[in-house]
Amino acid sequence: MSSGNRQTGKWASVVYSLRLLVRDPMGLAGLILVTLMVGTAVFAPYLAPRDPFALDVMNRLAPPSQDHLMGTDQMGRDTFSRVVMGARIALKVALTAISLTLLGGLVLGLAAGYGPKWLDNFLLLVFDTLRSFPTIMFALAVVAVVGPSLNTVILVIVVTTVPVYGRIIRTQTQAIRYNEFIQAERAMGAGIFRILGVHIMPNIIGPLLIVASMDIPVVVTIEAGLSFLGLGVRPPTPSWGSILNDGYSFIRNTPWIVIAGGVPLILTTLGFTFLGESLRDIFDPKLRKDI
């Protein structure tokens, strides 16, 4: 019975938070945009009217028409279908990179916050160094070495954002490691992994998930940016960034390719940012002060 009560209590709070979210115009806009984007990514193969890879050289750089909603690119590929499929790449990179970053940040942050002092100092120095590279320039250097690919993009994002998460987790861990309930666990003989996994992690994961969700637009931007430079996903994979790159070469005569590649990118970053801001205000008003 008690578990049933807890269940309904949980549901009630989820429903309540959703109501708060929908009542905030910004939250509602964010929710709609994110739903659209995720929906497009999931159902992309059904939504794309044409094969995004099919070449049609006779119809290259055709203006928007009933046949091609957003025209075609320099190889006659249907831009609309490529934009729809691009949502998949964006979401895939965002989810993979953010999960890996969270994982890496947790391991390193817990080690720094709970481990010995020298390890803490060493990890802090590594964090500070990694953060001191300007992201895109670091990305360019990595691409110069290992070559462009989707995995390189993910690697760059993880390496440059792990320090941010690591630092947050380290501070949070240090804040609770001397609490009485941790001391009591240790006195009862709990191992280090039990303390970290069962007692410390649940206490720090909440705010972290909010930070992570707010990083989705940043990650989507980095992927699109690198692909725009021709240093991200390999052709012919449709990414919004590579569509922009195709469009940039023909910007004077065929502006629709650039417009078609940029609009979904703007809507996605806006959607996730609005949703994240709104969620943060609902769940953790204290976080509001720092940007």
């Binding site: 001191s132 992201t135 320039m137 360019l140 430079l229 922009l244 910007i251 703007i266 940012t273 609005f274």
Partner: protein, 314 residues
């Protein structure tokens, strides 16, 4: 006081040294040796060997790193193997272009962002405050290279108000400035949002403090309270943000420089990545990292000068 400054300087130097070592290790330890990649598949073993010796790749790794660090300390970033010119000179030629772009962008972003933030703090919770808030979030969210592309499309290609590419004629100030308008719009736009939000938040904090209440109790006019007492304090965190922003702007400047075909350190890195010119990649990433680290340090110094509480924790 002096101790804080020295410790902060020491930390920055250590970070740069570790960063250089990491970069050097990354470029030289991965499979595929730089010399054979640079020479392409048709190179003979002798050619590769000569280049390896010229690049110093035949020596043990630790020696390479230490001698590289020593050279860097003396301002020698190696030689560009393609043009035979010193890398330091190639990089330093490009730095002013990027610095001008970053500083102009920061300047207009601060000039827009500070009043905007102060304004929405004063009119807190009104519809104006809400609109400014959504505007700030929106400009932060929109990717800067999309701003660059769209402004190129709209203002340069469609309206033809501003030139599309290049940095303008050397010596012609008007031409230089018109070439800066669109790139600095792209680089600075999101910072209007960051600065406005930060100023608003710290303004609200300051407005709640005792000395402001005292000033009100003395019957000072609201404008004096806001401009002379509140805003002055509220701007402090912005200085830190501006220091950090220089480094992040270096990243966005890469896109602006490529989209508008402007010379600059970002364009240099991009071009040398494409041609796999490792020495130049290394040198220019190094210089921009150092720029980032030291601009953050200077902003920390200034903040410490202005706010003694910060000196305690490093």
């Amino acid at each position: 006081m002096g101790l804080y400054f020295l410790k902060r300087l020491g930390l920055s130097v250590v970070i740069v040294v570790v960063a250089v070592t990491m970069l050097y290790g990354m470029i030289h330890l991965v499979p595929g040796d730089p010399a054979s990649i640079m020479l392409g598949p048709r190179a003979t073993p002798e050619m590769k060997e000569t280049l390896r010796v010229r690049m110093g790749l035949d020596r043990p790794f630790v020696i390479q790193v230490v001698s590289f660090l020593g050279n860097v300390a003396m301002g020698d970033l190696g030689t560009d193997v393609f043009s035979n010119r010193p890398v330091a000179r190639i990089v330093l030629e490009q730095v002013p272009h990027t610095l001008v772009l970053v500083l102009i962008s920061m300047g207009w972003a601060a000039m827009m962002g500070i009043p905007l933030g102060a304004f929405s703090a004063i009119f807190r919770n009104t519809i104006l405050d809400k609109i400014t808030g959504v505007f700030s979030i929106a400009v932060i969210a929109v990717p800067s290279f999309v701003v660059a592309l769209y402004s190129l499309l709209f203002f340069a290609v469609y309206l033809q108000w501003f030139p599309a590419i290049g940095a303008g004629e050397p010596g012609d100030l008007v031409s230089r400035l018109t070439h800066l308008v669109l790139p600095s719009l792209a680089v600075g736009l999101s910072w209007v949002g960051y600065i406005a939000r930060l100023v608003r938040a710290s303004m609200l904090e300051v407005m709640g403090e005792n000395h402001i209440r005292t000033a009100r109790a003395f019957g000072l006019p609201e404008s004096v309270i806001i401009y002379r007492y509140a805003l002055k304090l509220a701007i402090l965190p912005t200085i830190t943000l501006i220091g950090v922003s220089i480094g992040r702007m270096l990243s966005t400047a890469v896109f602006a420089e490529i989209v508008f075909a402007r010379p600059g350190i970002g364009k240099l890195i991009y071009d040398s990545v494409i041609t796999r010119n490792y020495n130049v990649v290394m040198g220019s990433v190094l210089v921009s990292t150092a720029l980032f680290v030291f601009s953050t340090m200077i902003s920390d110094w200034i903040t410490a000068l202005l706010d003694p509480r910060i000196r305690e924790n490093l």
